[in-house]
């Protein structure tokens, strides 16, 4: 067990082995299309299979629930883990294909993971190419209360705050689902704001830019103002980028708020109330971590995640060094319970 806590892991990634794993969950038309068109895989270029970050050396096997059990759930004594597969289904440009493949992905998650270990919960992966499809997927799966959040990628088609997405956020609220925003691009635009990078290193490091722009959009377009009950969970975003970005945003807001009068209180306060972050990676050396926490100004925002099987740490160092022991109950458990209504419901703790 981690610090004596029945830990909740909010960011775990089953690897989809290939399209053949998903075809049993498709209707006949799409099942045949996959074969006829020769679509063997749509692995996401956000996490190329052999990139070092994609899987820790001792976690290369991550496509079966037994892998997760033996590598993480059992040794760490984890009570609950929220699984979010990052396969490329939600990125494809054909909206109907994205809808069909994402449905299959979510049903694969349900059958291959949720049904096989009662400690698991999952994200509803959303095909955001068409917001109506995303709403439809929420409505389809929300009755299964093991789905505890809806998930999108941080770099999508248009900035996340734009009003065409609001129906998705309303559906999240209707069903008590936080909106999880995970690192990664749907590749509608270059993954840096200055154009396409040459290297994986640039791309992975630039994720924070995407999170900044996405969070800025959610604030300025009024999503946090309009939907104060909506919780936003930033997954694998890192932590240290947040407050310097918000400091600039809030400083500038003081003089330009008349453009966005619905942002009628300091943006940092809104973020403290509604935005949560997983703590892997943290992106700061241990001696700097206390100062980062001081800037956050809240013990309620960080949630523990292993980011399994992504390579964020080695050995047993599952908690970023430098975080104080006093934070552990909230970090490892309480903040997740406060964020995820569906984890608090008694019927949901054990099937």
């Amino acid at each position: 067990m981690l610090h004596g806590q029945r830990a909740i892991d909010v960011d775990v990634h089953p690897l989809v082995p290939n399209m053949a794993a998903l075809t049993p969950y498709m209707d006949e038309f799409w099942r045949d299309q996959v074969v006829e068109r020769g679509i063997n895989t749509i692995a996401s270029q956000n996490y190329p299979p052999n990139a070092p970050k994609t899987a820790r050396a001792d976690w290369k096997q991550a496509s079966k629930v037994s892998d997760l059990q033996s590598q993480l759930l059992d040794p760490y004594g984890i009570e609950t883990a929220i699984v979010t597969p990052l396969y490329g289904t939600q990125m494809v440009f054909n909206a109907d294909m994205a809808r069909a493949f994402t449905r299959a992905l979510n049903d694969w998650t349900r059958a291959e993971w949720l049904d096989r270990d009662s400690r698991l919960r999952a994200s509803i992966v959303l095909p955001m190419h068409d917001p109506e499809h995303a709403v439809e997927e929420i409505e389809r799966l929300a009755p299964d209360r093991r789905f505890v959040q809806a998930q999108v990628l941080v770099m999508g088609e248009t900035p996340a705050g734009k009003r065409q997405h609001w129906q998705v956020y309303q559906a999240c609220i209707k069903h008590g689902l936080p909106l999880a925003i995970h690192a990664g691009s749907s590749f509608r635009h270059p993954v840096t704001s200055v154009g396409w990078p040459s290297w994986y290193l640039e791309e992975y490091s630039a994720q924070a830019q995407g999170f900044q722009s996405t969070l800025g959009s959610l604030i300025t377009e009024g999503v946090l103002s309009k939907f104060p009950e909506l919780k936003i969970v930033l997954l694998e975003s890192g932590v240290t980028w947040l407050m310097p970005f918000l400091y600039r945003l809030q400083k500038t807001w003081k003089g330009t708020r008349f453009e966005i009068p619905w942002v009628d209180r300091p943006p940092i306060e809104m973020v403290r109330d509604q935005v949560r972050l997983s703590c892997q990676p943290f992106d700061a050396p241990p001696e700097v971590v206390p100062r980062v926490l001081e800037m956050l100004g809240s013990d309620d925002m960080l949630m523990w995640a292993s980011d399994w099987p992504h390579w964020q740490y080695d050995g047993e160092a599952a908690i970023p060094p430098g975080l104080p022991a006093s934070l552990m109950p909230k970090l490892l458990r309480e903040n997740a319970l406060a964020t995820y209504g569906r984890l608090r419901a008694p019927a949901c703790v054990k099937e």
């Binding site: 009003r163 377009e221 009024g222 999503v223 103002s225 309009k226 807001w253 003081k254 003089g255 330009t256 708020r257 008349f258 966005i260 009068p261 619905w262 009628d264 300091p266």
Partner: protein, 137 residues
């Protein structure tokens, strides 16, 4: 606190404003519909002259995309960083409790009233026929 005669009332018509002085202090003097308001002419942020700023209204919003524009002409925006202040109270929009411009009571008196004193008028001759803006600072 002294009474300072800082301007002839007719020199600042409704909707206008003027930078004046009281005891060496720069004062921003505004006329809102015949009512006068005075505040120190230094933004509490970094000292920008509010008299050189944009005059605008008070915009609020019940929800994104809806703009309620009211009290036109009653907000002043510092020219340096666009912080907004309520001309009637000196309070900032974004943190009215903590960030405000120091304001001073202002009113109009006739020259005849002023002859009874005491008052200070450093640069302004006071005559019986005219009306004057008096601030207490």
């Amino acid at each position: 606190m002294a009474r300072w005669v800082v301007a002839r009332a007719e020199d600042i018509p409704p909707g206008e404003h003027k930078r004046v002085e009281a005891g060496g202090r720069p004062i921003a003097l505004f006329n809102l519909g015949g009512e006068f308001f005075a505040m120190i002419d230094k933004c509490p942020h970094q000292g920008g002259s509010l008299c050189a700023g944009t005059i605008s209204g008070h915009v609020t919003s019940p929800e994104p995309g809806v703009y309620h524009y009211a009290r036109r002409g009653e907000m002043v925006r510092c020219p340096w960083h666009y912080w907004e202040f309520d001309i009637r109270t000196g309070q900032s929009w974004f943190d009215p409790a903590k960030v405000k411009v120091r304001s001073y009571p202002a009113h109009v008196e006739t020259g005849a009233q002023l002859q009874q004193g005491p008052y200070k008028a450093e640069t302004l001759p006071v005559t019986i026929e005219d009306n004057y803006v008096v601030i207490e600072a």
